[in-house]
Amino acid sequence: MAHSNWPLLEADNLSVTFPVSGGLWQAKKVVHAVNQVTIQIYPGETLGLVGESGSGKSTLGRALLQLERVATGEVRFEGLRITHGLTSDIARLRQQSAMIFQDPFASLNPRQTVGESIAEVLRVHQKVPRAQVAQRVAELLTLVGLRTQQASAKPSQLSGGQCQRAGIARALAIEPRLIVADECVAALDVSIQGQIVNLLMDLREKMGLAILFIAHDLAIVRRLCDRVAVMYLGRIVEEGPTEALFTRPLHPYTAALVSAIPEIDPDKPLPKNVLGGEPPSPIAVPPGCAFHPRCPYAQVQCRTGEPPLTRQIANHAYACVLNHEGDETVFPLIRGSIDEAQAC
């Protein structure tokens, strides 16, 4: 997708830490939920953020909108500093960004009708004169594919998909330029997932929205996103254009994720070699490359020292020591097996 050269939102070496109590007499520890992340989102672009649970993708999404305290690094919105920035700049970010959540029921007030929830946003942000609030609510409901009469329904009277649409209408009420969608289809049925994804595609086209789409379902990410960033234990290990990342991943972890998608075609079985082990706890991140205990390509240098530097090949970045010279490729994941990975 063509986009302007200036990012709408960018993060430089962003880290978010949480304290964890280390027991009664032990020192306090910190978890690096997000570790030195640099990322840009351009206007009108959809960036997919994927990774396993505990990889820090939701925390990163929240930190980008200043909903988490940032430990180091900074976030800029249209070039203006948000981290430790002016209150007016933060207010501007708030007026131009919105979030859609995973649980459609929990993100709406159960005692308010859908119409009231949306009208509240319009009033607080003074988007339209009071007299036109009802009309605007009806417009928004139509936009997300709900009937205008459903404005008087409580969330409990709607299905999961309808509630998610209402949540999206509420996010759109402030006329945002950026939406952070945190696993917004994970809780929905397959036939409804498609409806919501299509809605996001339509809105992106109509309103020029930039979307940060946080998900663990790679097949949907491939459908929707222009670029994809893959997170593992708080770091972005690979980032690139969607098709390149799916067809020729450069990081072994991305290759493992892509090859673990169960295809609906029985003649395309899952690969023989599965990635062994599980993501370690973020409290005890392995030294060196955090992925090395599970990586079938791990070398001696991966096990100690600093994590590998991020390397850039055209617009495709990855953090791994492998060179990918000649025809060498990590995809499909061909080397290694559970036993070898566990032996490491």
């Binding site: 049925d189 599965v274 990635l275």
Partner: protein, 326 residues
């Protein structure tokens, strides 16, 4: 003879709301059946009814029979049934942490059922528990025996629950969304484990899932449920390649297959039905593109043209139909 034969099973709530309506299934020994459907389609209630473990009050089995090895387990006394549960039918769940005892070590939970069902002594039961943990691929099983469930990671906890379910050596395992809560790489490990166990132990498995990809990769046959009724059943390849029911066709088209490239997804318009407002006749007709007046009558399960195993309940089977069966 089939290992499991379910005939016209009906589960109702209150007076007349049939959450599971006239469902018939069969399962051979060592076979893996994928039970697919959206939330509220009755797939979990069906399997709970097989165990006679219906959740909550007001649900009751009002019709049909469940033949396990030729014996109708719906007519057993409660005492006889508890010997069937666990011993002949094992079950694993989506969320292992709420189905393992948090104040008992994993080893003890496995050993307990060895002692109960086989009268093994303590030492023998512990040996068996060790062997089972090793079989399900828990690393360092000797030490893991003494761990509590909270000391296990998500994937390991699922492996431990499989070990607990397998301890009484059941012939049938019901797996209710066993990988939904897991990460995709760990999901692959668990699916592979279930496949290996099936081959080693000759275990029959009913896999409840909403993910057609998982069924395509692991199961032999598929049964698709919609609104409490079975709408299509058949061999995995036949169903996926040539679905007979418009709902199955829709579900397959909805899958965001990873190689489909970019662009809009196909969807099924409307919402899945809720139990209190099941439509009359075919329960899929409000969402179906080829619905007409005939669909106001409930369709019966009919077999496709060249198949004795592939059947669907629709008045307008996608390829024209030949044989009719009640």
């Amino acid at each position: 003879m089939s290992l499991l034969k379910v005939n016209h099973l009906t589960v109702t709530r209150g007076e007349d709301i049939a959450l599971v309506d006239n469902v018939s299934l069969s399962l051979e020994a060592g076979e893996m059946l994928g039970l697919v459907g959206e939330s509220g389609s009755g797939k979990t209630v069906t399997c709970r009814a097989l165990m006679r473990l219906l959740p909550g009050a007001g649900l009751q089995i009002t019709g049909g029979e469940v033949l396990l090895g030729g014996r109708d387990i719906l007519s057993l006394s409660e005492g006889q049934m508890s010997a069937v549960r666990g011993r002949e039918i094992g079950m694993i769940f989506q969320n292992p942490s709420s189905h393992l005892n948090p104040v008992m070590t994993i080893g003890e939970q496995i050993a307990e059922s060895r002692r109960l069902h086989f009268g093994a002594n303590r030492r023998q039961a512990r040996e068996d528990a060790l062997a089972l943990l090793r079989q399900v691929g828990v690393p360092d099983p000797q030490n893991r025996l003494n761990n509590y469930p909270h000391e296990f990671s998500g994937g390991m906890r699922q492996r431990a629950m499989i070990a607990v379910a397998l301890a009484p050596e059941p012939t049938l395992l019901i797996a209710d969304e066993p990988t939904t809560a897991l990460d995709v790489t760990v999901q692959m490990q668990i699916l592979r484990l279930l496949g290996d166990l099936r081959a080693e132990l000759g275990l029959a498995v009913i896999m409840i899932t909403h993910d057609l990809g998982i069924v395509a990769q692991t199961c032999d046959r598929i049964a698709v449920m919609y609104g409490g009724r079975l709408c299509e059943v058949g061999d995995k390849r036949e169903v996926l390649a040539e679905p007979l029911h418009p709902y199955t066709r829709g579900l397959i088209d909805c899958q965001p297959v990873s190689e489909g490239g970019q662009g809009r997804l196909t969807t099924i318009d409307g919402q899945p039905p809720v139990a209190d407002h099941f439509p009359s006749g075919c329960r899929f007709h409000p969402r179906c593109g080829s619905a007409d007046e005939a669909c106001l009558d409930q369709p019966l399960l009919r077999y496709g043209r060249d198949s004795h195993s592939h059947a669907a309940a629709c008045h307008h089977l996608l390829p024209t139909l030949i044989r009719r069966e009640g």
